[in-house]
Subunit: 366 residues, 2 copies
């Protein structure tokens, strides 16, 4: 979908194009079914398989994608009637949401289904049908108007966005910055005066960077990830990287969990292989904290736990970590048997991380 948007044939906004695209996808699904009925065929829908064996790491794209396998959900199969019926109901509900520019949480949809006659028995059941629709249409759930509960990351820096009727500059939304909402694809980027993006794992580090004016000193957007990045955050990072051509650096804790948080932003997750084309940012770079940083900056550390060692060994075998950089750093961390948090730089004073660490790393990476 990204390609179609980039062409932007009639000067339409990101939001408008996205809406049009999704609306047509949903309409198409309905039309297919109607056409089959008109041809007196038994209607069925082709649903790409998202089983483990159909999730492939694409070396060229540098993220997980779905393979070619798919199943058919047919009204001719008694077991599938209910599921296909629910899918059409959800698609219709979503078409209504998209048309009216509204959203619903997946929890709200679960309750709304009470009126459908074939209501969901559990939240789990309704989630699966939501994902079925996502994978069938190749759009994100958010494009369909179905939102997770959680908001995304905080953003601070000289980026101006248009969200509905409102223009927001992310330097002027308060000390905690602009919050990426789940509806980030309804937002247009109007203006941007930064050279890069630095995303950090903790809000502690985010506030440190804001206080030390890192946005100004490195001419950067600061993104506070709040741990594992929400889907909206990953979408935002991909959009600023592709649409605004900003290089992205990720600075997390120096431990397997910090590596993983970065890697999900970079290469996507296997579980979301069907939407990684909208979420992964393969050009984003892991800045630290690396095992080398732990040694070079003599950081306060904790010993690796058994679970950390196990996880690091898993990562070493993961195709997303096959570069020399990752292989070296994973081995080094296993060798020293230590991990370090990003806030541990404050051993040298609160300002050190912004005064010394970031400039040195950026120089080495750019």
């Amino acid at each position: 979908m990204s390609d179609e948007i980039k062409q932007n044939p009639e000067g339409k906004s990101h939001k408008e194009l996205r809406k049009e695209y999704t609306f047509n996808k949903l309409k198409g699904l309905g039309q297919e079914i109607i056409e089959e009925i008109e041809k007196q065929k038994v209607p069925s829908v082709k649903v790409p398989s998202r089983g483990t064996s159909n999730i492939v790491y694409d070396e060229a794209k540098r993220y997980y994608v779905l393979g070619d396998r798919y199943g058919r959900r047919s009204l001719g199969n008694v077991k599938q009637i209910r599921k296909l019926g629910q899918m059409v109901y959800v698609a219709n509900f979503c078409k209504d949401l998209v048309q009216r520019e509204k959203t619903a949480t997946i929890r709200e949809m679960y309750y709304v289904s009470e009126g459908w006659g074939i209501s969901f028995k559990t939240q789990q059941e309704s989630n699966i049908v939501g994902e079925d629709l996502e994978v069938t249409l190749g759009t994100t759930r958010e494009d369909l108007g179905l939102m997770p509960e959680e908001d995304g990351a905080s953003v601070y820096g000289d980026l101006t966005l248009k969200d509905g009727d409102v223009e927001i500059n992310a330097l002027k939304a308060g000390k905690s910055g602009y919050t990426i909402s789940p509806t980030i694809d309804q937002v247009d980027f109007l203006d941007c005066n930064v050279d890069r993006v630095i995303a950090v794992e903790t809000m502690g580090m985010f506030h440190r960077m804001v206080q030390e004016k890192a946005y100004d000193r490195f001419n950067t957007l600061i993104v506070g990830l709040k741990g594992q990045a929400a889907r909206a955050t990953r979408r935002f990072i991909k959009r600023v990287n592709e649409e605004l051509h900003l290089p992205v650096y990720i600075c997390n804790d120096g431990d397997p969990w910090g590596f993983h948080i970065a890697q999900v932003i970079i290469s996507g997750s296997a579980k979301l292989a069907h939407v990684n084309h909208d979420l992964a940012t393969p050009d984003a770079k892991f800045m630290g904290v690396t095992a080398s940083d732990i040694i070079n900056y003599d950081l306060p550390t904790d010993n690796l736990k058994d679970v950390d060692v196990m996880r690091l060994k898993e990562l070493a075998k993961d195709p997303r970590y096959k570069s020399d950089f990752w292989q070296t750093e994973i081995k080094k961390m296993l060798k020293i048997g230590k991990k370090a948090e990003q806030q541990s730089f404050s051993k040298y004073g609160l300002e050190y991380v912004v005064d010394t660490y970031f400039p040195e790393k950026l120089e080495a990476m750019e």
Copy 2:
């Protein structure tokens, strides 16, 4: 402290008064110690006890406070030397933070202490000394510049704030609203054109209210609590209630956890008895979801689990729940054996909660 600020003798901003007050408290602590030394006494510091037996529910104030018991931490006691030394170090660190208008996370302080000679061995140890200082001075940790990792709630509505050099209107910070930062006491309220505050437990409900323009229809601030309210959120709610005289209504899930989230905002927690004077909002009201709502609106429910029943029975005995309203609702919930989520109103369509439920409840309560 609230009282002194309300008088606001020289037209100073909230932020300036708060800074002055905290700075003097910290300075006073140091002076006390110096004076004792000059009088050739062994220095000691009086630390109010925060043990369970010293936490009292104050009927007049309608929140938990600390009683009169206290201990003395003295340099004459070998066991206490290290702890008192650390406390003075932390106080000095905080004085520096306050003076420079900076903050540090409690994690950063833990690492900074590496340079003190009497560094903390664990985060737990440093947290306790931070709390000791808080209780000794009667100020919040945030006033001392020590921040938690977490940001506060999201706010949407016609409130204009001044945060540093920036003026923010909470209608214009994006769909996810203005995020209450841990430094909420450095913020001044400039202008406010609403009649009330409605705080809701989930961001799902927050986004629903924003989409249905509840801010406009009820002339309200919308606060998205994100579950248990962060300290910064509780402080914000208290400030808008006291300084702007806005009535506060809380709408949570209809279960013991939702009741508890509301009650901590209203009456404070026992654990934070020493700062409840800054955090509790005794005039805030629980709007729902009540057991009566579950019946009257015929909401989709789940059965109470054993742990819910146990918790409800505990609440029934808690002094914060002794009003007729709470006693009736708790008994009713135990009787029907059911609980309901706030999003369950979408059984009647997404708009129902804003079109019907909120207006009916507000009319009954105001």
